[in-house]
Assembly symmetry: D3
Amino acid sequence: MIDFALDAFLEAALREDLGRAGDLTTNAIVPADRLASAAIVARSACTVSGLAAAARTFVLLDPAIEVTLVAHDGDTVAAGTVLATIAGSARTLLTAERTALNVLGRLCGVATATRRYVDAIAGTRATIVDTRKTTPGMRALEKAAVRHGGGKNHRFGLDDAILIKDNHVAIAGGIVPAITAARAHAGHLVKVEVEVDTLAQLDEALAARADIILLDNFSVHELAAAVRRTSGAALLEASGGVTLATVRAIAETDVDLISVGTLTHSSPSADVALDIAE
Amino acid sequence: MIDFALDAFLEAALREDLGRAGDLTTNAIVPADRLASAAIVARSACTVSGLAAAARTFVLLDPAIEVTLVAHDGDTVAAGTVLATIAGSARTLLTAERTALNVLGRLCGVATATRRYVDAIAGTRATIVDTRKTTPGMRALEKAAVRHGGGKNHRFGLDDAILIKDNHVAIAGGIVPAITAARAHAGHLVKVEVEVDTLAQLDEALAARADIILLDNFSVHELAAAVRRTSGAALLEASGGVTLATVRAIAETDVDLISVGTLTHSSPSADVALDIAE
Amino acid sequence: MIDFALDAFLEAALREDLGRAGDLTTNAIVPADRLASAAIVARSACTVSGLAAAARTFVLLDPAIEVTLVAHDGDTVAAGTVLATIAGSARTLLTAERTALNVLGRLCGVATATRRYVDAIAGTRATIVDTRKTTPGMRALEKAAVRHGGGKNHRFGLDDAILIKDNHVAIAGGIVPAITAARAHAGHLVKVEVEVDTLAQLDEALAARADIILLDNFSVHELAAAVRRTSGAALLEASGGVTLATVRAIAETDVDLISVGTLTHSSPSADVALDIAE
Amino acid sequence: MIDFALDAFLEAALREDLGRAGDLTTNAIVPADRLASAAIVARSACTVSGLAAAARTFVLLDPAIEVTLVAHDGDTVAAGTVLATIAGSARTLLTAERTALNVLGRLCGVATATRRYVDAIAGTRATIVDTRKTTPGMRALEKAAVRHGGGKNHRFGLDDAILIKDNHVAIAGGIVPAITAARAHAGHLVKVEVEVDTLAQLDEALAARADIILLDNFSVHELAAAVRRTSGAALLEASGGVTLATVRAIAETDVDLISVGTLTHSSPSADVALDIAE
Amino acid sequence: MIDFALDAFLEAALREDLGRAGDLTTNAIVPADRLASAAIVARSACTVSGLAAAARTFVLLDPAIEVTLVAHDGDTVAAGTVLATIAGSARTLLTAERTALNVLGRLCGVATATRRYVDAIAGTRATIVDTRKTTPGMRALEKAAVRHGGGKNHRFGLDDAILIKDNHVAIAGGIVPAITAARAHAGHLVKVEVEVDTLAQLDEALAARADIILLDNFSVHELAAAVRRTSGAALLEASGGVTLATVRAIAETDVDLISVGTLTHSSPSADVALDIAE
Amino acid sequence: MIDFALDAFLEAALREDLGRAGDLTTNAIVPADRLASAAIVARSACTVSGLAAAARTFVLLDPAIEVTLVAHDGDTVAAGTVLATIAGSARTLLTAERTALNVLGRLCGVATATRRYVDAIAGTRATIVDTRKTTPGMRALEKAAVRHGGGKNHRFGLDDAILIKDNHVAIAGGIVPAITAARAHAGHLVKVEVEVDTLAQLDEALAARADIILLDNFSVHELAAAVRRTSGAALLEASGGVTLATVRAIAETDVDLISVGTLTHSSPSADVALDIAE
């Protein structure tokens, strides 16, 4: 099945790199009929994401390219692992290389960071989730990378769930009227989450039967109290400044969800390369 | 002057977040005629970039929004600095907030990282430059962020300069024939850069009168030797695994340019926020 | 706030009508500086939807047009009611007329049909909801029309809720494994609905804790049995061949939701017109 | 031959349904390599239109899908008729189903309604034609559906023929000056039609040698008079509130054309379905 | 009224020139707040077309630009005539200059060539018309330029009139069956033109009641014979290799139309310039 | 390798010609399964450019079309030469014919004109280069045509080189400050060219170490003086009103580059045709 959105994204990325005049260097030096093969390699250990997208970059530019995936999105691999092999026009390999690697490196970076957080809370009942702090244009890809790293997805956008934040509460005049207004507006398939800053607000949110309650910048101690007070009446999401150093203690409070913005807005790219073997 | 490319990028980013049904939460809770004002604030010290783009995000969504820029792209500011104030429809502020901050945080992150590298080599004659390892769709913005951080730009794409890499050299059968082919193909306004791995290759590149020579993964010792041997006959660019820890020693070899991929592919986002004061 | 999706839809609709050469008749006959005013009128009683969109059609084509909305989306009006007045270039009024009315007529048609279904079940606890059987390109507008008519919205697309149908159940090997797979894949904000054909399947769906259960083509007798058996453990949706003649009896079974495809795929357009008073 | 406009329309329709995250249900439950076959079936008797478009929906999403058309656009079929068979990835069949059926159902609806009008005037010399009261974005498809139902097409847009309406006449200061201005502006390939409300206006239109004269809301008696008075000097089009109940009497006046807006703005969708046989 | 197609064309043209990084020279040298005024000047005598489009280029890039049209599309002006004055940001004037002039020069070139042909046949009853041999992307603009030069327009595309050429005739098995098939397919608003190579074919076309008959590469003697034989039963179009040297003799045969491909495919650009007076 | 920009250009060109309703004539007359073959022929001697693009036009519209290139872009051919043969659906050949020829004719026209200028200066050391006076939307194609004709390319846009013109110099307050500002702004890969009107300005430009100096409207005598004074310190470009009559004398002054705007803005189309042999 063709992913129209992915193809449009990759074509735009290729056109951004090709500009008006195309790959001056390759077109000047590499004969049009020259063939080559190459390996996409992880230079450092990582969790893979974006491999299918990277492979698609080459095929989209040149349908005659043949790609063999050796690893798959979601795999965690050692440094030096060959992720895929590619064969076809040498020009295509050289021209698409940077675009494909830019996509792959970023997405492996997100997946790898997610995997670290997920591993850090292994054995607890919490789930690592992402946020909307994603790269403009890459939300679906980055959210897939979070899944490939073992996490789950929060909202995909402003339109697929209600998330009532402090400013909404202030305007609505309280948590209960905010939730009431939200439920009146949204369809029956839309869940309602509300952000609370205190245990007192948590009680209001529980009274108003929020589906999920985001505990914003709660201490571990407060999180534990919130879990006890809620006792399963709503999903609880810990949020705010979560790091690898603090995530396990948070998870051990028995919250349901821990959202980590850094997964998508600050993960360094993974070190991936294209080794061309003529 | 309208920046068509920026507007198209921001509109796509907003539409990615708004989805089919728009901001369910805000539309349910915030009256359509409610006004509010807000400040864009740097939560941590950073070098600013993307502020004009972030401000444009609000205005594009709602031409009635009024923005006052307090800081400007290129400024380095302390934690807590107000960068801009925004006034208008409360709905617009809440709906555009995340998109604007996603753009701003990333670009401040790039500018801030660049500024650190630039400061680290202060007093040397080297220039920090970026690479094509940018976020797909954001190349022009990220390259502007590098300039805001005090760096300069390398190629914008495959079509605005020749950069002959090892694979090109291998296919051409040597550095001299590669440069010859490149010059025959390109117009008189196109500069020719060639990547070399050894001092012997450097000699070939000098013989072929390359405009710029990229010294790939040279040790500091080798870089110094290259500078002596070149003595101004071409620009020299150090490249490969440059870090904040190593950049000054590299600069002190008197190379002209130091390219740093991490500026654009691995800088963490800066911590920026929108404080809404109803 | 600008609705980018609406503007793109309306511009495409105008361009479809204008073709390559524009409004031959108006440009030949009407002087460019001729002014006129007009009223958008409901020729028959209807529930209004798309009025803002119709007004936007004129303004998008010509920002100098002035529109005054007299009625609003969601109003139910008598035949002959003026919905809006428009003033400006006579050319614009004539050129945009058909496009604006095509949009308005269709959406008023959807809202009016919905209003009839909603009125037919007044006093029951059921809610009328739409389906994905919408006009390609107009889903958001038609779903808004359903809300304007007093209904609520089902899924906006394949990506904002899980709806497990008979074919999915067959492939999964049963309702329970289907729901299990769905929950493992989707995030915590995604509700899971499952379609059942029999009361036995209903029991399975309840056992698997589906959020919503679609009762497909159940008789009124079976619906009542399903309501009793469920007793609030899930939302129940009656679906399949619902008509104005049958909808009240269905609602009186105490199901939560009644989905009606005909609202969006077969409602006749409302009779709306533009009366130009030069 | 590829129909670019059709492909763009179908891709937009699929993307509208797929949203950012794609078919959550199918991707969670149906293995990527699962194959299936299906039949597109007419659940009620209808005249077929849009079958090629519906088939293209599947192939566009997944070029590996194999479609066999059993019926063809323009056929009138009995309830239960298999229109096409489809084989390939089970995921594709399930994901594209609703979009394909939304297109097919609407177009069969238009063709079926047209066929009823055409049959109702069998044996007369009149032709049923459509109007510009079409669904935004679907004009070419709906006009093809009218042809598939046995009708003919009126203007495709504002730019391919002159149609002078009452407001144009008023601004021009009469029918004769309006036609004169139109002829002076338009090329020699453009026909000129004028709308008249009275027999007196008809005389003016004939004097000005209009190619076609639209008789707006004429009674059957007036139509007959108009036909006599015109005696072949121009084509005559009856228009305004035509229904199945009135169309034959209108046709029997010997007018050349009867335009029916309801064909495209108010025809209910035909009942078409996809029966999947794994 | 906004011309969406024009705006899209101009924005694409500006983006083609601006590339990824914008106007490097102007942005480096001209302060952002520098104002300037300029005149668009015809350096040689010409008939004006595209002046509104050229002015729009500046305003589209920068809505603060003020344009005053001194001449208008359709005017014939002497060398040195100021066509419009422009005032606003100096950056905008310099950045948009080349794009605006490229559009204006080409369209004035088309209008000027057309005017020469029209003047050459003054006093005859023939009309100069264009062809579909236009610049891809500029058909509507170039056909307007032909009108500005005093000519009229032939087909705008393959879909707004029937033009049966020799290959169609060969496949249909003759002129009569070709016309019959065309009339059966097309609506009543579509005129039917047929190309003939001989007087014998002309008789067939007349027998089949073609609306227009294209006399392909007829000598002046043959054209005159064709006019006599037709005596008003159809419009006659002379076509094929018409030049300024031959056009008057052709017109004097009393044909109705003379189509000239060279107007749009081979007219040199007019010499227009932007004189900036700071 | 697919050229996305070319495909988008060709698809837009085809859609411009096809309009809403497609090729009425061909669809009415030519059976859908009729096959044909054809030859693209140069009716007059020319230098070929755009042949690959013209061939792509057919294949893009119909992937089943088979094209065999007989000549290649860059070839200079005699009148009557077959450039390519095409086989497949007769409908496709007829429908795409005009679009393909419009592209090919224009580009062969540019290449042919360029070839004449290049031949006229054979044996000198000068190079013929183009300008930015190109057809909007066709810059890359027209610049390729210049290369096919033996010329070289100047800037592709405002963003790939600095070209300081008289207005920039005036605003900067002189040639030296203008060049200084330009170098401070642009990256190390960007060359700096400056336009001068006098030999005095040439001295300034040399002092400021411009990479290229454009000698605007210099007489042959002045050009020779400029060459002597520069003696290789910068590339010299002669520009302004160059014609075939004057170009050789200019080249013999030993300037490096001669830019000729007329190549792209005023070359007549070459006479190319599609001969269909059923």
